[in-house]
Symmetry: C2
Subunit: 389 residues, 2 copies
Amino acid sequence: MAASPHVPFFDPESPVFRAHEGGKLGVHATQPLRGRDDLALLYTPGVAEVSLAIAADPSLSARYTARGNTVAVISDGTAVLGLGDIGPLGAMPVMEGKAVLFKHFAGIDAVPIVMESGTVDELVEAIARIAPSFGGINLEDISAPRCFDIEDQLKERLDIPVFHDDQHGTAIVVLAGLLNGVRVLGRSLPDLRVVVSGAGAAGVAVTRLLQRAGVRDVVVCDSRGIISASRADLTGHKARLATSTNPRCLQGPLGVALEGADVFVGVSGGSVPEEEVAAMAPRAMVFALANPTPEVHPDVARRHAAIVATGRSDFPNQINNVLAFPGIFRGALDAGARRITPAMKLAAARAIAELAEDDLSADYIVPSPLDPRVAPAVSAAVAAAVAAE
Amino acid sequence: MAASPHVPFFDPESPVFRAHEGGKLGVHATQPLRGRDDLALLYTPGVAEVSLAIAADPSLSARYTARGNTVAVISDGTAVLGLGDIGPLGAMPVMEGKAVLFKHFAGIDAVPIVMESGTVDELVEAIARIAPSFGGINLEDISAPRCFDIEDQLKERLDIPVFHDDQHGTAIVVLAGLLNGVRVLGRSLPDLRVVVSGAGAAGVAVTRLLQRAGVRDVVVCDSRGIISASRADLTGHKARLATSTNPRCLQGPLGVALEGADVFVGVSGGSVPEEEVAAMAPRAMVFALANPTPEVHPDVARRHAAIVATGRSDFPNQINNVLAFPGIFRGALDAGARRITPAMKLAAARAIAELAEDDLSADYIVPSPLDPRVAPAVSAAVAAAVAAE
């Protein structure tokens, strides 16, 4: 394969390709198969008793099959990382990686499922049909705006947790960071002016969760500028954003929104000039989450903002979904939750934030993505939120 | 839960339920995740290189994801064991058991997928959509006649092996037994009169494979008797059987077919009276495969027949699909086969039969289901058949 701007040189001897040889996941039996007696227990004729018991009482399924600890990581490969629509086969290494993280942090058996893309109805139909195989569904890297309807329709149809991580995982970790950011700066959420750049999966979910947490003034921008009721080009979820955000009825480009803003959340992949960051309010917070190239370089942002977070591991305050999704699903499965509610997301964000409290500073508003305390704490908080509902 | 004829008493302390606690399968990472460096290799940013390489050259998928060693075990729970339509949740313990066998005998990572049932089109559509996740598809316990069209349509649409085990696994092992049966008895396939009782998934596939192997005279019976061109009630696959079997144009009940027959293959779940077995040709072979209750008790059959096989482990000559499916898929995956052809099935049957040759007798026409030599031998034979095509 030749090198190209979009296809890095394929080098089977490189560390990345070596680490991926044969894939990153395996399936194993959890019970010994030593001979005829084990076979008769685990397969016919013994298994018939378990099958009949579950058929008579489906609630036994979670206890007597792996389903109770299994989450499907499902993608159609249309919005993979920053790579775009690379198809189901291309998406598989990412889904396997996600499954590795589910296991590592939360002991969850995650099964990557990559699908041929299609209409919302086609994807919903296929996912709903295989849903009995799983205890939960993590949607991943499905392009907006289809991802909103797909998630909404699956939540409606299924009685297991469905969670689009690109939306809600990002939103939860941004909120966690913001909760600690206001602690560091002595501010409070209702007083903040927040600008969200990007009206795709992450932008919409961040906006909704911040509002749910108490933020009153959120302005969302897409590639054409501020989303406002005066724009004639808005439909669907953007039209809904226009009525539920932007209380000061701003109009114009992103720069207008940023003037005097306290918080910038970039989930767009675009770029923000330094002078627009400089025009934010004093002691601002910048979450420049585009990966691998943040909307504004963190060193530049830090000249003007009090707190800077990115999606990258080589700068402070990495906003990484892995802080959320393992514990969210662990808690939901443990509590037997049938859906992931806003209360569970808020509980997860608070639990993540609390783990950073002891060492809180402008450069430490969220725990490390590898902090092993996080998933158990999130799981416990989520399960408690389920119990409280 | 109360005991009932169809729902055995649910006793969580019984060995079967204890062995099923938490299910029988787990997912594990095959690469270590020791810290930030591993995370950067297995997940972002490293994984992007692998995803892009696969998107550019899909053939790399089998090498750099687990897909190359993964088979989906898919059922809608409509024809589970002898239990009938017990639904997807009830089917799951059986599918997990099957996955355990795939791993144990062939090192294959099998993923159980249970689906809400539906029309042929609905099931085909859903399975085809998730097919990019897998290196092969083992269909299981899907009711006839839908199973025929589902398999045919999936074979048409997909470029990975699709194999309905209830059909072809059974057919392969029956043929293996028959090949050794004729050796023991000094007969040959073209001279045999064979009666197949049951025109469902297994009956149809057994008939076709025996014909492919050289049997000329096969008579198939359903619950109404011999399938013949004179019957007005036949449609679909039974109408096709009527024209491709029954060369002597027999009519009437099963007993008519059995008079003077050399081989009985029961895959019906019905029962055969002793006098009908007695009316078979001298030195007949009886494959009474209904489970757990054979069509005729093997001790009774043995009074009249020279060779008796059942589906049970507590009698000689157990016809068990596990002799076939692990090696079939291992060989197909190893050879990069895009489908399971008749030549591959014949090669598998011959390989199974050969392993019993050294100790061949009327009570040993197939190897033990637990014989570890079987899957490697079947795999090698199947891969060689692929290479020869």
